[in-house]
Symmetry: C2
Amino acid sequence: MEGRLGPGDRLPSERDLSADLGVGRSSVREALRVLEVMGLIRTATGSGPQSGAIVIATPAGGMQQLLRLQVAAQGFPIADVVQTRLVLEGAVAASLAASESRDTAAAHALLDAMDDADLPAPEFLALDAQLHLALAEASGNSVIAAMMAGLRSAIESYVLEGSARIDDWRGMAERLRAEHRALVAAIESGDGDSARSLVHDHIIGYYTASGLVPDAAL
Amino acid sequence: MEGRLGPGDRLPSERDLSADLGVGRSSVREALRVLEVMGLIRTATGSGPQSGAIVIATPAGGMQQLLRLQVAAQGFPIADVVQTRLVLEGAVAASLAASESRDTAAAHALLDAMDDADLPAPEFLALDAQLHLALAEASGNSVIAAMMAGLRSAIESYVLEGSARIDDWRGMAERLRAEHRALVAAIESGDGDSARSLVHDHIIGYYTASGLVPDAAL
């Protein structure tokens, strides 16, 4: 918390931390496990001088764990998660449309991969999630990208269950493909207002069609 | 993750978890500590039948820990944190303005408390943070409220340091008071566009005046 350690720096060994802080080895180990799950350190095995944990600071993984667990334990209602996605995705779309250096190559590769008409719903939805994340990453804000990845992963199982409630999956996939292409086109033409409203309608449309969230909750 | 446990439910004791899962007591204890820091459970001491951890699912605390540590370890750049605050606070202001059942009583109590002209900067800034959080909570989205609390707390020490770089603190406090009142008034008159742009300018104004983030980074 004092800002003295950053990515690549090594923590003292468990033994040294225990001696320096005057606490038992098991307390040190518990603290290291917490930091590991939060994506702050990678722990190494062994007991030599190279055995200390390394600061990695990869926040996306920690955010994902936290949001998945909190949604599962009913700490966050699904409707609030969906609403937050709408806010963040709208901001990403508008900011990409306004950017002069946006790189949509990853998005195009995913759009093409989703054109395969024989993709089963789970594979399609996995590519769909990757597309939304690729746009967030292209927007360059690491906090928003980590939050979006976490929120999407927190409701992943509900999204999959929802797809089973859609009678005409091929028709739905066709619609999602067209919506994705329209969104990326609006971003590339620099039309932020359209991009924002297209991504909004796209998300709401899927969630209501799959019965994930009642229309009234949004 | 299977959704079988919710707030108020009790986990089996450490001893039972260890026996049921076939892992050592220390592994169980590490996992419980992780869940505790993430705000998912409250652990009880003792070893009787009432000794198991209780599911609490209070995500705000876990989010705060995660974001504080990741910002401190340079996992998230400050400019990205500030930009995300702008997105979330703008959405909160617009959604409150559009709401017919908004409750701004807590916000008004904080506005009044901030009128004390003798408040030192740290006390003023603590009330300021509470005001922004009270608005997020009034908007009713628990995910956005937890994220905003976490983001604000992640940059708390930078905000405090920044206040020391402001020569005329009394003048700045006067300006912040006026901006807060104008924001709450715009929300109460149902003017979402004004509320959104007032909160945007308010945040940017303070961060650039205190040298926390260069204007160009936003």
